[in-house]
């Protein structure tokens, strides 16, 4: 157990720096533009670090790190996708266009961008409603991720930890807006880089060098739980058998769900609206790539190797040592394998990871509630800093209540669900908005509805992980899921995204056909 005085001292320094940066943000936040899109003057390093820190949360480190201890090194495909899609495609092919188009239209939020680009209040309203409903779930998972580590380390009541987390983060988001969020995110991102790099060194020191550690991990294959072996997992240094349940879960939910979902996340998109110019985005790519590699890559390397350490130290694999709760694997490993000083420091890193993502989500939900929805309800078009602040406070309260009522083993699942929904509902419409010459609303509306509805139906009635937990299929049809394996392991993204793309294509074809007589007459 870490020394309480040491931890309190580290936390005090971290919180003082966080609140100071929040104060700087508050001082620079004069109007609604500053609050919502950071006055469009954010520098490249802050943009990249803040983007990365907002994307990589405790969920990536604790949740997905724990999952990689269960499913093995195959999660490195998620790291590759995070860099290829989450940085290269997101910044180069989406980011610059989002910034330029957003600036031309005067957009201040993600729903606002869609609404103005398509000239459609429905697109703004519908995407805002989706965000308001789905984002608190993701938020709650992030809060739980941070609270878990405090719980394991100090035995502090989980609800007290949740409240403390939310209160501190809320204090600078509500007053400092996006400037405070991005400044604190950048500092927290640097902490994450340092902490994870040291964690990698500690891990290799504990289990041997890379070759020795992975050889030992391969040697543990016979100890993979029978349930996972039956699902197709044969080794922690190999991909599961192609098409098996384990393969479908790893590839469709974990790798694709998160790796593709990153492209259309509202809290990340808004960062491009805050960039000073295209040069800033170009430079940010050089920082974003290494950040993703050093954060997710280390988490997904350390995760599987915890099996070696637990086996050598306790004669158990990681999942067994954590009592079957994979969210506890990384905290337990660090508490057992790392020096006390690092445990205290890493706790701060996890707080930083949680706070950076939380603050971004709080801000995104708040501006959506306080601008996009408020605009429709009250009929007021101009963004107001005060209303956005009130919206942020209200959405924080909802997220905290949800975090207190959600199960603990939900971090990675909720993250994948949120990102999957974003990809299904928003990605085709956003791509069309950015690359269509004169994008029209009808195909976008069709795509948003088809993507969102098909994702929801597959989640509620087929995908076992959620369908069983929700119990709606059981209540209506007397069966936990309407289809059997292997469909129960196919992530809703694999159904929802093609459905949304198909709907977009149908919408475009219908519109083209409707336009054809007019064009013929004109000719």
């Amino acid at each position: 157990m870490v020394d309480t005085t040491l931890f309190i001292a580290c936390t005090a320094v971290f919180l003082a720096v966080t609140l100071y940066l929040g104060y700087l943000g508050y001082r620079q936040t004069k109007n609604a533009d500053d609050f919502m899109i950071a006055g469009k003057r954010i520098s490249p390093a802050v943009l990249a670090l803040s983007y990365g820190a907002a994307f990589i949360s405790t969920s990536a480190i604790v949740g997905f790190g724990g999952i990689s201890a269960v499913y093995g090194s195959g999660l490195m495909w998620l790291t590759a996708l995070c860099i290829l899609v989450g940085v290269i495609i997101a910044f180069v092919f989406f980011g610059k266009r989002i910034r330029r188009i957003g600036r031309q239209l005067g957009a201040v939020t993600f729903p606002d961008l869609l609404g103005k680009r398509f000239g459609s209040p429905f697109m703004q309203y519908a995407s805002a409603v989706m965000i308001i409903i789905a984002m608190p779930l993701y938020c709650a998972a992030i809060i739980i991720g941070g609270a878990n580590f405090i719980d394991v380390t100090f035995g502090i009541d989980r609800n007290v930890a949740i409240l403390g987390f939310a209160a501190i983060t809320a204090s600078y988001v509500i007053f400092g807006g996006l400037i405070a969020v991005m400044y604190t995110d950048a500092m927290q991102g640097v902490l994450m880089l340092v902490g994870l790099t040291v964690l990698l060194a500690i891990t290799f020191a504990a289990v041997g060098g890379p070759a020795e550690a992975f050889t030992a991990l391969s040697g543990l294959s016979p100890h993979i739980p029978m349930e996972l072996q039956d699902a197709g997992l044969r080794s922690w240094t190999a991909m599961p058998e192609l098409g098996s349940i384990a393969w479908l879960t790893l590839v469709t939910t974990i790798v694709m769900g998160v790796g593709i979902g990153v492209l259309a996340q509202p809290q990340l998109t808004v960062r491009f609206l805050s960039a000073r110019d295209d040069r800033s985005i170009n430079r940010a790519v050089a920082v974003g790539g290494p950040f993703m590699l050093l954060t997710t890559g280390i988490a997904f390397t350390v995760g599987p190797l915890t099996n070696v350490w637990f086996w050598n130290d306790r004669g158990q694999i990681a999942l067994a040592a954590a009592g079957g709760d994979f969210d506890q694997i990384i905290p337990l490993f660090i508490n057992g394998a790392a020096p006390e000083l690092f445990v205290a420091f890493f706790l701060i890193v996890l707080l930083a990871a949680a706070m950076s993502t939380l603050s971004s989500l709080f801000h995104s939900m708040g501006t959506t509630a306080g601008y996009d929805l408020y605009k429709h309800i009250v009929g007021r078009d101009r963004p107001s800093k005060r209303i956005a602040q009130l919206g942020t406070a209200a959405m924080i309260a909802v997220s905290v209540a949800l975090a207190m009522s959600m199960p603990e083993n939900i971090i990675a699942r909720a993250t994948a669900m949120f990102m999957g929904l974003c990809a299904c509902a928003f990605l085709p419409s956003l791509t069309y908005a950015l690359y269509g010459k004169k994008p029209s609303a009808f195909p976008a509306k069709l795509s948003l509805v088809a993507g969102g509805v098909s994702w929801l139906l597959w989640t509620v009635f087929v995908h076992a992980a959620e369908a069983k937990a929700l119990g709606i299929s059981q209540a209506l049809f007397g069966r936990p899921a309407l289809l059997g394996p292997p469909f129960t392991a196919v992530d809703p993204l694999i159904i929802g995204l093609p459905a949304a793309l198909l709907a977009l294509a149908i919408g475009l074809a219908v519109e083209r056909r409707a336009d054809a007589p007019g064009k013929a007459e004109a000719a």
Partner: protein, 35 residues
């Protein structure tokens, strides 16, 4: 390689590191380009 049984895992590592290098080169080459 490095005790890793499956070349697909080695490929994932190689792709992640290669993409990172591409990011750094792109950022450097385009650092003053406004597009």
């Amino acid at each position: 390689m490095f005790g890793i049984e499956d070349p697909q895992i080695v490929l994932a590592y190689a792709l992640a590191i290669g993409s990172t290098i591409v990011c750094m080169i792109y950022g450097w080459l385009k650092r003053n380009e406004a597009d």
